[in-house]
Symmetry: C2
Subunit: 120 residues, 2 copies
DNA sequence: CCGTACTATATACATAATGTATATATACTG
DNA sequence: CAGTATATATACATTATGTATATAGTACGG
């Protein structure tokens, strides 16, 4: 029997959060997938294989929608697909920022209420 | 043809956010589904049919896991299934709060960086 | 020069969470 | 007695994410 009282692993992700993080990171400087994953750790991504799969999918999808453009770069090690953000991509990022602000407001309302009633 | 430049409907939900909101609302006072949906609007839920379906699913699921208990209440209108939070449910809520705080931190890092680099 | 590890990209398949659509029933209002 | 609001519920479809695996170049040690 397993102790139910340990870590019941509650989780609720920030859906599609990786997309705006990629756009924001690329607004600063062009980069390729593998390197981007390192940079994404700043936003709480782990760099797990799930994250990797996710990232490559999102990058390709964003390029398809012309939010990013890419070029192959040869050098030491295997070739890299280096992504740059487009103007449309920057606009998309702005929209993401607006949505994320709203989400933060929802979270804040939750946390405020949680703290208020917690101490009866 | 539809103008692409209008609202491209970016969206990223707060996954499973309804669950902690239900728990928090029920920590204050017992309530039934239909009424709970009204209360959830505080946390940014719309009360759409999707939200409804979602809510009833979550409530049943939480009861199955003994995070909530319910009783039928007769009165004016159709009978209501009134939910109360259990001790396990309160503990679950605490775990949710911890996770949500982490998610807020991730969001904050994003928004801070977004604002920083935005004004070049 | 061979195996191992690290860099690098990619995708098929499975699962999980949410959205759509619909069914059922009570009670009030005109 | 038809329409609307209250009230709960679920089958089915879609979307987003996770798991597993494939491929390949380069560096390093033995």
């Amino acid at each position: 029997m397993v102790a139910k009282t340990s870590t019941p692993q509650v989780f609720g992700r920030l859906e599609k959060f990786m997309e705006p993080c990629l756009l924001l990171t690329l607004r600063e400087e062009e980069s390729h997938g593998y390197e981007l994953m390192e940079k994404l750790k700043e936003f709480g991504f782990e760099g797990s294989s799930a994250d990797m799969a996710n990232m490559y999918r999102i990058l390709r999808n964003l390029e398809e929608k012309e939010m990013l453009s890419s070029k192959w770069e040869e050098g030491a090690g295997p070739p890299k697909r280096v992504y740059s953000i487009t103007q449309a991509g920057e606009k998309l990022l702005e929209e993401w920022a607006a949505l994320i602000r709203k989400n933060r407001a929802r979270i804040d309302r939750f946390l405020t209420k949680f703290a208020e009633n917690g101490e009866e």
